[in-house]
Amino acid sequence: MADVFRALDDETRRLVLDQLASRDGQTLFEICSILAARHDVSLTRQAISQHLGVLEEAGLIRTERRGRSKYHYFTPAPLAEIARRWPIGQRTEP
């Protein structure tokens, strides 16, 4: 789980997850262009590619080849682990 927390500890990576959560299955080019246009993130493609690598290692995204292009998908399973470890809604106010 440690790499999940490390992966989440970065604003750009959180924005990438937001972007994939709102529409899954994007190429590197699409992720970069939307980050630049909507979020003013002016990182190189290589930098974004490295961020995607960190997210993939943490199990928060997976990649899939369709045709000759590679697409990225949000996989929230590790986030469910967090909710299981620290459940919300079961505590009552003292």
């Binding site: 262009s33 045709g67 292009s69």
Partner: protein, 135 residues
């Protein structure tokens, strides 16, 4: 100085000519035999004296590796302007064209990316008129 010709590498020049004319709607300008290949260009009927696109054979080994790497990451090699990305997306999808990026509003423009079936990705873009003057 002005841009009169730009080129892309295509797997099969005859198939590329069919796609760029029959499917996309460009007009053939030059079709000159050159050894096993052709000097083959197309242009937009909307801009009669506009720049030509050269459909260059991709038989150089470096061209194949270069294009494969760009296609994997979804990076378009060429960009065409359209009036309405949504309607072009619908028209082309209806003709079997596969998009790697659906019409996407990026603020100043709407863009989409499709596979030209000859080894390249093509971006279409409609710049929003209100943003041209707003800068």
């Amino acid at each position: 100085m002005r841009i009169e010709l730009t080129s892309i590498f295509v797997d099969d020049q005859r198939a590329a000519l069919d796609f760029y004319t029959d499917v996309l709607g460009f007009t053939k300008r030059h079709d000159i035999p050159l050894g096993d290949n052709f000097w083959l260009t197309v242009a937009s009927p909307e801009v009669p004296d506009g720049p030509e696109l050269l459909l260059e054979p991709s038989d150089h080994p470096a061209a194949r590796a270069y294009r494969a790497a760009l296609v994997e990451d979804g990076i378009p090699l060429v960009q065409f302007a359209v009036d309405d990305v949504e309607s072009e997306h619908d028209r082309l999808t209806g003709r079997g064209v596969v998009f790697t990026q659906p019409p996407t509003d990026i603020g100043t423009a709407v863009v989409a990316v499709f596979d030209d079936t000859c080894g390249n990705l093509v971006q279409i873009v409609a710049v929003k008129p209100e943003t041209v003057t707003a800068g």
